[in-house]
Amino acid sequence: MSTEVISQLEIDRTRGDFHYPEAHTFDAGIGLNHATIDYIADVKGEPDWIREFRHRALDVFLSKPMPTHWASQDLENIIFDKIRYYLSNAQRPTRSWDEVPEDVKRTFERLGIPEQERKFLAGVEAQFDSEAVYSNIKKALGDQGVIFVGSTEGLKEHPEIFRKWFGKVIPTGDNKFSALNSAVFSGGSFIYVPPGVKVKHPLQAYFRINAENFGQFERTLIIADEGSEVMYMEGCTAPKFETATLHSAVVELVALKGAKIQYVTVQNWSANVFNLVTKRAVAHEEAEVKWIDCNIGSRLTMKYPGVVLKGRKARGEVLSIALANNGQHQDTGAKMIHAADETTSNIISKSISIGKGRATYRGLVHIPKHLKGCKNNTECDALLINSSSRTDTYPAITVRGSGNSVQHEASVSQVSAEQIFYMQQRGLTEAQAMSLSVNGFVNDLVREFPMEYSVELKRLIDLEMEGSVG
């Protein structure tokens, strides 16, 4: 790949750290109660069943305790009464960048989104605070019956598909934050791929938080019908504010018989964002779901993408890279729930802790009774850069019955002094050597990624490593 292309693809920290003055037409105000829910449902013109769904979810959210008995105490620092839950200018995205309001368009142009769309994407959705401002797919795909719209639009235009699957993979009460999302969700993508359709190029969604004291609660639902294939990529940025910002998404994937879904995330939120996301897929017979999850930004990320392997020979995979720098805690991992014979799952997680950063792997592998021929492989590798860096691993593996095979391995190491010395002998600076070492550590995993993303990721890692030594 030429350097020109690389520079076009980069989405680095500084590039996302800007914002324009706010001018929102719709604002649900500060704090959360049942009136907030009614405001959102009114503005969005939603049917009654969704309104009731939201109200019920709010009650669940309020009744659930914070999971601080196992999770980070930092969660206590989220002040739910000081957050704004809905901000937008309109509820319907445009199909053309020309119609997007000037300041919003400038934001996405600075992030290079329209350019990427022209270059290699099959469809793009851009979300600004609570709602999608732009969404479009290539005409040929639309003609094949592929649907790619925002969740607000999906709910309105395709209720017959939406309602059937919505909230089925991740029930409202799954955890406190899935309940919160269910109460105030807005934006996110709705994708349906008809039987046998193979979407060759990736569909991309771009999530942008522009406002301060704001919570973004996108809701994504992807259904790949029998034998279809789709790749979805999401990117996220926010400017760096003094106050905490909350991002709490729910992402549900359904891969029907023989379908393949790849879901790629490069999360580069600014260091004031609490990123508490629930992501889960159901894989039916012979279906394949692959989560590729890169967490580089945010203050605290808690995210454990999962796959429920519901049909025979279904396959689930999570490839995860986390980079935790000063002031960051990347609490990430994976869940694999085997629920049918001959299902296989693979989890590979690599984390790097720099400075005072903390990276945590949390995993769950579950194989119930009477299943045969299930296999799981889990590998977690952690790299520590400085003496104040921290890493933790907390897997939980339950196997009931014989006839299955599960293995878990984890290791923790550091960049060896010999390696750095060797490279410095050959004229590299210490920082360059460190960067090269770290890229080597994640390289075998990065190679599994779509090329556009591996390039972006390498660049991000280089940036993060700057100034980390010495």
């Binding site: 009477h370 003496s387 921290r390 907390y394 014989s402 599960v406 293995q407 391995e409 290791s411 190491s413």
Partner: protein, 429 residues
């Protein structure tokens, strides 16, 4: 939980107990009352059967009948020739054969006696802090109800060649015992102790034990705990090992009996270059449940720990393994390893593994692994092709799997009797 366990907790003792010890026991009783019972919210009780550890139906054990006592004393053989021995039944001293002469200064005595003869040592080392792995309430119960136990003190530089043994028998319905072992190995000393936890009958009973090992500078300690409770016994054993610089310890647990058994084993590597090896094997069959929690706590630079736990599961048995390697910020150049392997031999058995790491230092090498699987059909075929019946092949492969743990134990005289114990236990399968 009711306090029935506490009300009768101070039966008449043949010898008076120092006031400070009694005061500590009273404080522990208060702690036991005030501490909450384990709940679903406790990570250190995740997957555990909480009902199983509701202990209100038990009362502190009464002495056993004298004819049974003679019988149990005669059965307390363990490792042939490994004497002196201490034999307790229901927390009372039964016998104390000591034909061999121990090196000068070595104290191997019932705890109640050591409280009279060496109160300063007991005060310095006994029950210094509560459990670290979730059983704080049970640690308090143990301390408040403690009546006797094994006390072993080895002075500076003394090598005890012959393995020492102590037996803890439990008999009678509704009885609760509180077995205790306090082992202190001073700088440069060396000693081996085998603790046997044995069932005198098949009654429903409770055991709540604590074993504290203090390993001094450059000292070398080997400790074995063989748990062979009856199938109606609920037990909680907490083992804490503290190792000073250059010290080395091997702790081996054989978990064979009981109905609900929880073992907590923690190693604190407190001095530079300290080393701890933690070994355990479990055979779980019928409806047995084994809950194993471990901690490898590296607190000083250049320390090493190596853990190997193996579980063989039959029938509807259930095992839990939750292990944590913790490396403190100053414990650079730590080398830690943790491995749990489950062999599942039934469609209804359940193996839970939670191997954990918390690393706060760099320049470390920490690895853990957890595997769960079955006997490979090719291994079975290989043996069957050589005329070994399928059932025997299963048993041989399972023995080989578990024996890897025993083969790591550095003392031949002890390994062989333990292997026999293992074969005996596998006989029915």
């Amino acid at each position: 939980m009711s306090n029935a366990l506490l009300e009768n907790a101070t039966p008449s003792q043949s010898t008076p107990v120092p006031a400070w010890f009694r005061d500590q026991q009273r404080a522990a009783a208060e702690r036991y009352e005030s501490l909450p019972a384990p709940s679903r919210q406790d990570e250190s009780w995740r997957f555990a059967n909480l009902q199983a550890f509701d202990v209100q139906d038990y009362a502190p054990a009464r002495p056993i009948a004298s004819e049974t006592a003679a019988d149990l004393a005669a059965q307390s053989i363990g490792i042939a020739g490994a004497e002196p021995k201490l034999v307790f039944a229901n927390d009372q001293l039964l016998a104390r054969p000591r034909p061999a002469q121990l090196p000068a200064g070595v104290v191997f005595a019932p705890l109640a006696e050591a409280l009279q003869t060496h109160p300063e040592l007991v005060q310095q080392y006994a029950l210094r802090e509560g459990a670290t792995l979730g059983s704080r309430k049970f640690a308090a119960l143990h301390q408040s109800s403690l009546r006797n136990g094994t006390f072993l003190y080895v002075p500076k530089g003394v090598q005890v060649e012959v393995p020492l043994q102590s037996f803890h028998w439990l008999a009678g319905a509704g009885q609760a015992i509180f077995p205790h072992t306090l082992l202190i190995a001073e700088e440069g000393s060396s000693v081996t102790l085998v603790d046997w936890f044995e069932a005198g009958d098949d009654s429903k009973a409770l055991a709540c034990g604590i074993h504290d090992l203090w390993v001094g500078k450059n000292a070398n300690v080997r400790h074995v705990a063989v748990q062979e409770w009856s199938r109606e016994v609920t037990s909680i054993h907490s083992n804490t090992t503290r190792v000073q610089s250059g010290g080395s310890v091997v702790h081996l647990g054989l978990h064979l009996g009981g109905k609900f058994s929880r073992t907590e084993s923690a190693s604190f590597l407190e001095g530079a270059g300290a080393r701890s090896e933690m070994l355990a094997l479990t055979i779980a069959d019928g409806a047995q449940e084994f809950d194993q929690r471990t901690l490898q706590n590296h607190l000083a630079p250049g320390t090493a720990s190596d853990l190997l736990y193996k579980n063989a599961l039959y029938d509807t048995a259930k095992t839990i393994f939750a292990g944590l390697i913790r490396v403190a910020p100053e414990a650079h150049h730590t080398d830690a390893y943790q491995k749990v392997r489950n062999l599942v031999l039934s469609d209804l058995a359940e193996a839970n593994s939670m191997p954990g790491l918390e690393i706060l230092a760099d320049q470390v090498r920490c690895t853990h692994g957890a595997t769960t699987g079955e006997i490979h059909p090719e291994e079975l075929f290989y043996m069957q092709a050589r005329g070994i019946a399928k059932k025997d092949a299963f048993r041989l492969i399972t023995f080989g799997f578990l024996n890897e743990v025993l083969s790591r134990f550095p003392c031949d005289a002890i390994r062989e009797p333990l292997q026999n114990r293992l074969l005996e236990r596998l006989r029915g399968h």
